[in-house]
Symmetry: C2
């Protein structure tokens, strides 16, 4: 399918989704973060068709999120590990809104040994960043700004 690219948008969300937004890609990254490296074990965990998995692994390696070691293993890179917050955020939304029997998995903070209960906080004042507490303004990469200066919610 000749997808219409997101790349015309000067937006980091769109650009991230160009790399990891294809169907299955984030679940492949989940597997990588859980320490699975071999094509066969990832395929078995996901139940994905081999040609699709091959395509996704190729794209993720091409963009440097995984590194193919040449012996059938795909290893997480630092760029790939940086996706951890994306997976945490999706997991927590799913825990809250799509897990009637309760969370299938609990995330434990290795540092303190407790349920991490991850929450986004302001790096300046430390407050929890609840919905509705953020607004956006153009950044250094805004360019002509047409798409980077959206109206604020009314």
């Amino acid at each position: 399918v000749p997808y219409r690219p997101f790349s015309g948008q000067n937006c980091s969300i769109a650009r991230a989704l160009e790399v990891v937004g294809e169907r299955w890609s984030l679940l492949v990254m989940r597997e990588a973060m859980l320490g699975r490296r071999r094509f066969g074990e990832i395929r078995e965990q996901l139940g994905v068709a081999p040609n699709i998995l091959s395509d996704r692994l190729g794209t993720l390696a091409e963009h440097g999120l995984l590194r193919h070691d040449g012996h059938g293993e795909y290893r997480l890179t630092a760029k790939g590990a940086d996706l951890q917050p994306v997976l945490i955020a999706l997991m927590r939304w799913g825990d809250r809104h799509a897990a009637p029997a309760g969370p299938p998995r609990i995330v434990v903070h290795v540092g303190c040994g407790q349920d991490a209960d991850p929450e986004y906080r302001c790096g300046h004042c430390g407050d929890v960043l609840a919905p509705g507490t953020l607004e956006v303004r153009p950044g250094p990469g805004a360019g002509d700004g047409r798409r980077a200066e959206p109206p604020q919610p009314s």
Copy 2:
């Protein structure tokens, strides 16, 4: 295309992606969070085909992330607003790895008025949750646990 569903996986990431993982859906949610409500303005911002946008808005409304007011406007619900961390996480990954000219947008924390520089912290001890500082264990919804008790990274 008869997609193979993610729903066989007992995983909140997979379940969240069943709702918001289709191409364009998260960008539609971005628009909703930026306060855009009308089909036409969302379509114009995204450059998406009308039939695709109509499908995505319908799915998001069906799952309760948007509410169609019957007069052509789609409003963000609390369930939709809860996706804020997912969009923040994608934005920050894109800012770091796919924004050579710098971040197109800066997120400002309304509470303190400063660049929010959002970071995930442990809800128990307050430490920043850097990559590699988390591990998972089965939660109350793990069920038989086959897919919910992954091996830890070696």
